[in-house]
Amino acid sequence: MKKLRVGRRMTRKLTTVLLVLAMTLSLLSGCGASGDADGEAAKDGSAIKIGILQKSRSDQYQILLNAAQDTALAELKSCGKIADFLQVDADTDVQKQLNQADDMIAMGVSVIIMSPVDANGCAPIVDKCKEAGIPIVIVNSKTSNVEDATAFVGSNDVEAGEIMGNFIADQLGGKGNAKGNVLQLEGDIGNSAQIDRDQGLKNTIYKEEGATVLESLSGKWLREEAMRITEDWLQKYPDISAIAAENDNMGMGALNAVINAGRKDDIVIVSVDAIEDAKLSVQAGELDATVLQDANGQGTGSVDVAFQIASGETYEKNTNIPFVLITKDNVDQYL
């Protein structure tokens, strides 16, 4: 307890020091290209402290998201628009994120940005922030009570599923005329990305009269698991036209299996995330397409909104960062 109190006092002291430092800096540097960042706004801004609750530092997508936030925050800080920021990693552990949120509320940050570990498990954090009067911006995936949060910046995973479904329909003869047998590799069942991407496929390729979705199994987001399932499917079904994987890791696993079976020419494979080797594979003409969830857009967007909230500017409650279909035609600009 004592330690904690000392710790808090220290942070407060530190904050004051940084605050003064930042104020001086903001007076010195003529930073800020935006027109409204002069005079009064800058003075207010220099007291802003942004806290980031990261979901993970090892997940490929979250790494990109964290990096984008970091760049945006560092820029704000160097311009003196914010006093400081801190990032903590929950390592995909709900309990850890709950504790970290408590710590951040106790520290009294101006605004929190959270990439939630779990839709239900992290919902209490939103309530706590509301109680403590600290605005919270949710980024990437939603909590079950996302409407109670101050703002949400993210992409709609249903859209990702629809982009996949439409791409497959186009490849198999065009919307309304698509023909063929489709297989679906699902993520961890119950995960919000899995539910929504599945819904997106249900809205599109499932509705095609001529196309049949033969089976859907969960590859648990894992490459080796998806590869094993696909190998079994390749044995079982002599006629497969397309495979839709709810993430690239599984898409790449399926691709390996299909290439090994010598059936890549007959089977269209599409997946979501646009991770590095998926993009390279698209460039090499193997994977047919990947759907980019814009980590950069989400990361930068979440920091922008958080800053707008903290400095009292107007902000969007819901910011949708659109998904982008990446095929051989446009892959070069994303590599």
Partner: protein, 325 residues
């Protein structure tokens, strides 16, 4: 443990025999059922497919058989695989031509990790369960540190051959590796002094110590061998998925332990055989493949697998009890 030690040599062997046969019968029954129920299962191509899929778990399970017979357990397998994967990935990312070096380095790294496990366990006389529960965190963390959390994209075609290539275009190399390792394991366990010592320290540690067995050395060797086998399995898995990933291999120890236990090894130590484990490995492979071919949904696959494992072991215990009475 003392009960088993009191048993005579003869009834000990008989129990082992029936244990092995009970499970073999269940495996045969499952295969016959699938042969009838699934047209795909009958094909030669699917047989090769199943053998290919079990090779990674199989290689690990062979090492795990030694560990379990010696009275131990190793929960750090999944993390070791991750280390092997990122070590291979890091070497190949720096220079795609260094295939041999990458493979050897991965096996050596995992061998050293196994040695570390064995050292802690035998030096401080700690429960292997607790030690490897701790070290699996260390190794997984190390894998993340080495790779900085990222996944290595592998482009070397020569490396791809290891896990995806086929001898004469028909037999996957991974199957050949599994058969070789199973054979080496069989010889080591049943035809050498080292093998006898492994049974001895698992069967009755005090007797083994009293009769002059160097327990420290045997345990060290056993955990190191586990590490090397896991390293090889990790390399094959990395090549199979064509990526060096720090998050790979989670839970792989459990399938290996399941195969060993289904194969008639006792978690109390002192009992078990390589042929038994091979049957266990085949059984898990056939369950996984069979359910996919039968179109069992993801929800039910785990439930079915759990019940089959439980059922197999219960039936096996019932058979061996009745026969040894």
């Amino acid at each position: 443990m003392s009960m088993q030690a009191k048993q005579t040599e003869q009834s000990f062997d008989l129990a082992l025999f029936t244990r092995k046969y009970g499970i073999l019968m269940i495996l045969v029954f499952m295969i016959v059922f699938l042969l009838i129920a699934s047209p795909t299962f009958r094909t030669l191509q699917n047989t090769i497919n199943v053998l290919n899929q079990i090779s990674i778990n199989g290689i690990i399970a062979i090492g795990m058989t030694f560990i379990i017979i010696s009275g131990g357990i190793d929960l750090s397998i999944g993390s070791m695989i991750a280390v092997a994967s990122v070590v291979t990935g890091a070497v190949l990312a720096a220079n795609p031509g260094n295939v041999v070096f990458a493979v050897v380095l991965a096996a050596v790294a995992c061998g050293l990790i196994g040695l570390f496990n064995g050292y802690i366990i035998s030096k401080f006389d700690m429960f292997p369960f607790v030690v490897t529960l701790g070290t699996q965190l260390i190794f997984r963390g190390a894998a993340y540190v080495i790779s900085d959390g990222k996944s290595y994209v592998l482009t070397s075609n020569a490396f791809k051959e290891i896990g995806q290539g086929k001898l004469l275009g028909a037999i996957p190399y991974s199957i050949i590796v599994l058969i070789s390792i199973a054979f080496i394991g069989f010889v080591l366990l049943s035809r050498t002094k080292y093998g006898q010592y492994v049974y001895a320290i698992g069967g009755n540690l005090h007797t083994a110590v009293a009769s002059g067995v160097n327990v420290f050395k045997i345990k060290l060797l056993t955990y190191m061998m586990m590490g090397i086998f896991t390293g090889i399995a990790g390399v094959i898995l990395t090549s199979r998925v064509n990526a060096g990933q720090p998050s790979i291999g989670v839970g792989y120890e459990l399938d290996a332990i399941a195969a060993v236990v289904i194969g008639g090894s006792s978690l109390n130590g002192g009992i078990g055989t390589i042929p038994g484990t091979v049957i266990g490995i085949l059984m898990i492979g056939v369950i996984n493949n069979g359910m996919n071919l039968m179109g069992v949904s993801s929800f039910y696959q785990q439930i079915v697998k759990g019940f089959i494992i439980l059922g197999a072991v219960i039936l096996d215990i019932m058979i061996s009890r009745r026969k040894s009475k």
